[in-house]
Symmetry: C2
Subunit: 205 residues, 2 copies
Amino acid sequence: MAIKIFIADDHYMVVEGIRSMLLQEKNIEWMGHAMNAASCMAFLHQQQPDVLLLDINMPDKSGIDLCKEIKEKYPEILIIGLSSFNQQSYIQKMMQNGASGYVLKNASREEIVSAIESVINGDTFLSSEASVTMRENKDAQIPVITRREKEVLQLIAEGLINKEIAEKLFISTTTVDTHRNSLLSKFDVKNTANLIKLAAQYNLI
Amino acid sequence: MAIKIFIADDHYMVVEGIRSMLLQEKNIEWMGHAMNAASCMAFLHQQQPDVLLLDINMPDKSGIDLCKEIKEKYPEILIIGLSSFNQQSYIQKMMQNGASGYVLKNASREEIVSAIESVINGDTFLSSEASVTMRENKDAQIPVITRREKEVLQLIAEGLINKEIAEKLFISTTTVDTHRNSLLSKFDVKNTANLIKLAAQYNLI
DNA sequence: TTCGATATCGTGTAAAAACATGATATTTGT
DNA sequence: ACAAATATCATGTTTTTACACGATATCGAA
């Protein structure tokens, strides 16, 4: 019985590339692709693949959030994260949200096929480069911040000062200050400049 | 006479995707691909394509720098920039460095073919999305900053305070302050947080 | 060669952020 | 139901940034 594959990626070249690579595989059935999160969910509502190749950057929603939603609704679908960035924080989040594997977009045909076979067998598959990254930076975690902290963080990045943030969120300036210091502490940085730089690197703003 | 195409991109899926899309085109000759800047230059040393599809992010060198080098050495090669990011600053830089076109990686087969035909005819081709971006943000230019200002900017982003920056660069804190205020003014922002966010977006840090 | 941009330094003030200490209500997960 | 995490608020001090006004030396391009 052929393995049913579906892919969600907004880069048509990537979709076409994978399709072309998998075309020659006899035991793989290509179900199609979606270019955004919404149409991916719509497709899954109709029919479910065995393996879903999921891009980490979608126009309407992050692949990380989408991954979580899909696993909640369709726990039987095996998800393989797909990304250009070999960034440990992404890999970790995808795995935390239920992904079974993670491959980079510079993967070879063999790597893709192995990834699919691995997750079908219940194993976890990480691109060689990705797993090296995980081992190397396992202490450089992406901080876990709360919703409110993220809101404050984004307003800080937009250049608002505490008073303005307080007014916007209908809270007192001291509360904003508390969130601020909590962010500095969680990111383990000394000041706002460093905080914003890291937040940008983690794609939080 | 067939148009000779070469592609430099470290994402194998993208290479494969484009190859697959162009396979059916009769008047296009696929010369091959390179996965990094060095092997791209090595190939060009042997033979030259008519059109080079050049990724903006290469492991060993930015596509923007590579574009400039190639046009200096082989001005007759037509270069089409290739990128996942629809970011005005990249597009602009590629064009300044001699590229004839710019397409996003979510481009369709038709778009790629049009791009190749356009540049062969001496026209400039911009992905519809990319050209919209250029028109929209033509006043939101990337600020021109001096070498010294960039140094200071990067140290600010690393979390250093004026006194530390001053010591590192062997200048007084007032000078650092002057550069700082000049940066705020050039970026047209009110505070450091906003400055660093923009600098990160422009890939300056 | 002359002008404009760059880089440097100073004094002083007001605003904002960083940090400490402490406290209470609410939400969330087990 | 209960503990832990989250969100909220207050007061006060020190450090850092933002900004004003001013000034001099250098260097490169017109």
